[in-house]
Amino acid sequence: MAVPLRFRLNHEDVEVHVQDPASTLLDLLRNDLGLTGTKSGCAIGYCGACTVIVDGRAVPSCLQLVGLLEGREVRTIEDLSGPDGLDPVQTAFVTCAGMQCGFCTPGHVMALRALLDQEPEPDEERLRQTVDGNYCRCTGYVKILDSAREAVSLQKSLTGEAR
């Protein structure tokens, strides 16, 4: 018996009928909603590849039970870019060569997006802590940290322009 579940997904109200409320948001996104930008790397909350934003905070979607999502707000990597172009965090990864294979990139981008939403001007320590929550096997993190710093300054300059 499917259970109806209503939540906000990428700024739209959605109602899905889930067979199993104890299944994970990661599976719901990838298998039922076709949002494959969120990647699965370990399914136990370690690698960070599946990071999405729930109620403004970065969480591993592989540990987020769908039954606990009722009424909450979910953002995935698909929400970040649109006809107007890339999110500043994405732009920073592009310009700083912040990815190699790119598999961990959506998770890194979402984690940093959530951070910058909460703290527009995080210090080096905060950036490092945030990046520390995502595995990357390709880059040695140097250019990911470069991208994180670039994202902060890009966002700052964009916010400045908007004023």
Partner: protein, 808 residues
């Protein structure tokens, strides 16, 4: 002795004046796809009616399969097929020594060996059905470490491999024992490495679909053409029946080079069900049944004159093949001879054995044996420097090879800036200043390595071919089967084409491999794509450009010699008496050439075969046309109260010829160092009964951003005469020396030299405390046992699957 194949280039040709796009920080051509999540990896493939699959694996290290009961699984609603070994062609396959069945036939040989598989409407159903399959085993005695496998009367992993030897060879080039006897200083020791997993964040996966009698496999393989050959063998099909298409790849590092069964099982299920099937490894399966780095135990003897000139080296190498061979046989060769291209040895002697065990099969991992070799031999060099009283960089400089050097195995080194690298790494880390003012518990060390740019080992061919098609809209399509595993290879190939064609990189597209559509290629292995494929693309682009200019010459009546391409236009100087120079869009020329009566498309073909030799049975032969080099230095700090190591700084100076794209090249070096640090310090499992007790990231800790040292990455001023615009490979080299450097720096800091990787805090702690790196009750000869730590007195059983902050 050698099979001379291609003439090795003689004098370096003049350096080309490099076009501006070469050496510039060009943005990756796939960057936007990747940051938006639109790049489609193996598990992102979606085909209508696609089924999902799950595999049943052996829980035993060695057992006879008596019966497999699939009846309950087959009855589960939603299950479309259940297969066992009986449903396969029962043909053994493998890159060098065919010894692996797609699904077990009669015997299983390691924990994780594939026994049966299920395809069902969704993953949950497939997994549930797999759990209902009942396998009856007769457990057999297993060999769980090298010494057990080599013991007299040891159980045989494969009946056709007496003594459990999968492969062996030996040579003495120059009379090493005599040189060692005459040496003033001889250092000696035993060093061993351990299994290291690739840890790609994306696991191995495949989607397969049949159409009539052909199967198409969308696979995240680094080597689509080589994998296709093996898949065809494993499926019992002619080569023509298999088409492999490369998906986006979420990290390779050798682990996705087609030696495991995942794709083969997927294809069998797809045939049986008549529907597309997707099979993706779980993280646990990736740890149990991919092909990690080969644990190697080296006994090294190294001789020197009293003034520090190296004389000879002797090694006795045993390597843990695991249950199946894959590419391990080729790795053994590299691990035996490559490092002899670093120093001017008078003689080298080696005996190398690849030994079957009932453990996870091993294979190719970035560095291809060299990280283990450089760790063991590098430790001997470090000991020698101490014995000789010579600073390590100075000892290296005394003995380092140079351009024009030839190794005892006929490695012919055309370009070499090893000495420059040594000096620059020493300067970057502040070697002599730090030596002059040592800090307690801090240590300094240096290591060097050499790598190939492509390696002739998959038959007598290490070539690549490319097609460059100029399009009617003024762009260029590079059609090549090499692929992209994340390094940015497609971007650097686009730069090479852009440089030759006078087009912007944004106007170049580079294909993904498709064995039906692209050129034949060996793929991303052996640091070969930049060098081998780069040369092929360069030639194809040159030829396309020649055709373009010939067409433009016909169209404009100007001599081709006066024409050139720049900014997407064909240019010529103004004719005498005219004011305006000629400026014609490339697309216009291409279209006019195609549309003229009897017109033709503009398509350039390029081909390049690595100017190297296919090494003989004893590994004599110039493996590659170009060798890259690195020198790395590190400073570490050890907490003597715990043994914990902090790597403070690491400097790498790399000779990869011309750097085509600095951020991409730096990324290769930085990432390789991170993997090297993991191999050196943190990556290991607890083992029990021949398997990791918790085969996931809970136990297997790879470096995170928080533990990375400050890195200094520099590139030597260097030019490879046979490389495209002077470039050589750079993908693997920076990993190789890291374990050795960390070990030497720890020894320098606290006087403890660890002989078995990884260099754990605990080993250092015991070394400081007791002089032995094993716990007091464990002290004794260290075998290459996977369970190096003592048996737990009261370990909670069974091991729990846990993750951070687990709650209920």
């Amino acid at each position: 002795m050698s099979t001379t194949h291609a003439p090795v280039p003689g004098l370096p040709r003049e350096r080309d004046v490099l076009p501006p796009v070469i050496g510039s920080a060009v943005q990756r051509i796939d960057a936007v796809e990747k940051v938006t999540g639109r790049a489609s990896y193996a598990a992102d493939t979606r085909i209508p009616r696609m089924l999902h699959a799950a595999v049943v694996r052996s829980p035993h290290a060695h057992a006879r399969v008596l019966a497999v009961d699939t009846s309950r699984a087959a009855r589960v609603p939603g299950v479309h097929a259940v297969i066992t070994g009986a449903d396969t062609a029962q043909v053994k396959w493998g890159a060098f020594r065919p010894d692996l069945y797609p699904l077990a036939v009669e015997r299983v040989r390691y924990v994780g060996d594939e026994v049966a598989a299920v395809a069902a409407i969704d993953l949950e159903t497939a997994r549930y059905a797999a759990e209902l399959i009942r396998v009856e085993y007769e457990v057999l005695p297993a060999v769980l470490d090298l010494d057990a496998a080599l013991a007299d009367g040891a159980p045989l992993v494969h009946d056709d491999a007496p003594g459990n030897l999968a492969h062996e060879f030996a040579f003495d080039r120059g009379g090493a024992r005599e040189w060692l006897e005459r040496s003033d200083v001889v250092v000696e020791g035993v060093w061993q490495s351990t299994r290291q997993w690739h840890g790609s964040i994306e696991t191995i996966g495949c989607t397969a679909e049949w159409s009539q009698d052909r199967v198409t496999m969308w696979v995240n393989t680094q080597t689509p053409f080589l994998a296709r050959q093996r898949y065809a063998t494993a499926l019992g099909l002619p080569l023509r029946a298999v088409r492999v298409v490369q998906t986006e790849i979420g990290g390779g590092f050798g682990g996705k080079s087609g030696d495991d069964n995942t794709s083969v099982i997927c294809a069998i299920l797809a045939r049986k069900t008549g529907r597309p099937v997707q099979l993706v490894n779980t993280r646990e399966e990736e740890f149990l049944a991919s092909r990690p780095r080969i644990p190697m135990r080296y006994h090294v003897r190294l001789g020197f004159t009293s003034d520090g000139l190296v004389t000879a080296k002797e090694i006795d190498l045993v390597a843990d093949n695991g249950a199946y061979t894959g590419k391990a046989q080729a790795v053994l060769g590299a691990a035996t001879v490559r490092h002899d291209a670093l120093f001017t040895y008078r003689a080298v002697k080696a005996r190398s054995r690849l030994v079957y065990t009932n453990l996870v099969p091993t294979g190719a991992f970035r560095g291809f044996g060299n990280p283990s070799a450089d760790w063991a031999v590098g430790q001997a060099w470090d000991l020698a420097a101490t014995r000789l009283g010579i600073e390590v960089p100075d000892l290296f400089l005394l003995n380092a090879v140079e351009s024009g050097s030839v190794s005892p195995h006929n490695h012919r080194i055309s370009s070499c800036e090893l000495k420059q690298c040594i000096r620059r790494a020493a300067a970057a880390i502040g070697w002599y200043d730090k030596r002059a003012a040592p800090t307690p518990h801090r240590g300094l060390a240096m290591g060097v390595s050499v790598h190939v740019s492509g390696r002739r080992s998959f038959g007598d061919y290490d070539g690549s071919s490319a097609i460059v098609r100029l399009t009617e809209d003024g762009r260029a399509a590079v059609i090549i089967g090499e692929g992209e595993i994340g390094t940015g290879a497609r971007t650097t190939l686009a730069q090479i084409a852009a440089a030759e064609l006078g087009l912007a990189v944004a106007d170049i597209s580079v294909s993904r491999p498709d064995t039906d559509l692209t050129t034949h290629a060996l793929g991303a292995l052996a640091s070969r794509v930049t060098y081998v494929a780069g040369n092929a693309v360069k030639q194809a682009a040159e030829r396309a450009c020649e055709q373009l200019l010939a067409a433009a010459a016909r169209q404009t009546g100007r001599p081709a010699a006066e024409l050139w391409v720049e900014d997407g236009h064909v240019h010529a100087p103004a004719m005498p008496g005219e004011d305006t120079p000629l400026r014609q869009p490339v697309g216009t020329v291409v279209r006019a050439e195609l549309y003229r009566p009897g017109g033709e498309p503009i398509v350039g073909l390029g081909s390049f075969d690595n100017p190297s030799e296919f090494p003989d049975q004893l590994r004599y032969g110039n493996e590659s046309g170009a060798y890259n080099f690195v020198a790395e230095a590190a400073e570490v700090e050890v907490d003597p109260a715990t043994g914990a190591v902090t790597v403070l700084e690491l400097a790498a100076a790399v000779d990869c010829g011309t750097v085509l794209n600095p951020p991409l090249a730096e990324g290769q070096v930085e990432g390789a160092i991170a993997q090297g640090l993991g191999m050196a310090l943190t990556e290991r499992f607890d083992w029990d009964g021949g398997a990791p007790t918790r085969p996931n990231f809970v136990d297997y800790k790879m470096p995170t951003a928080g533990v990375m040292p400050k890195l200094h990455v520099e590139f030597a001023d260097s030019y490879e005469p046979t490389g495209p615009f002077g470039a050589k490979g750079v993908g693997e080299i920076a990993l190789d020396p890291v374990p050795s450097i960390v070990a030497s720096a720890v020894a320098d800091a606290v006087g403890v030299r660890v002989h078995e990787l990884p260099i754990t805090a605990e080993k250092i702690f015991w070394g400081i405390r007791t002089g032995s790196t094993t716990p007091p009750e464990q002290a004794g000869p260290g075998g290459l046992s996977e369970s190096a730590e003592p048996a737990p007195p009261d370990r909670p059983a069974p091991p729990r699957d846990r993750a951070p902050g687990e709650e209920r």
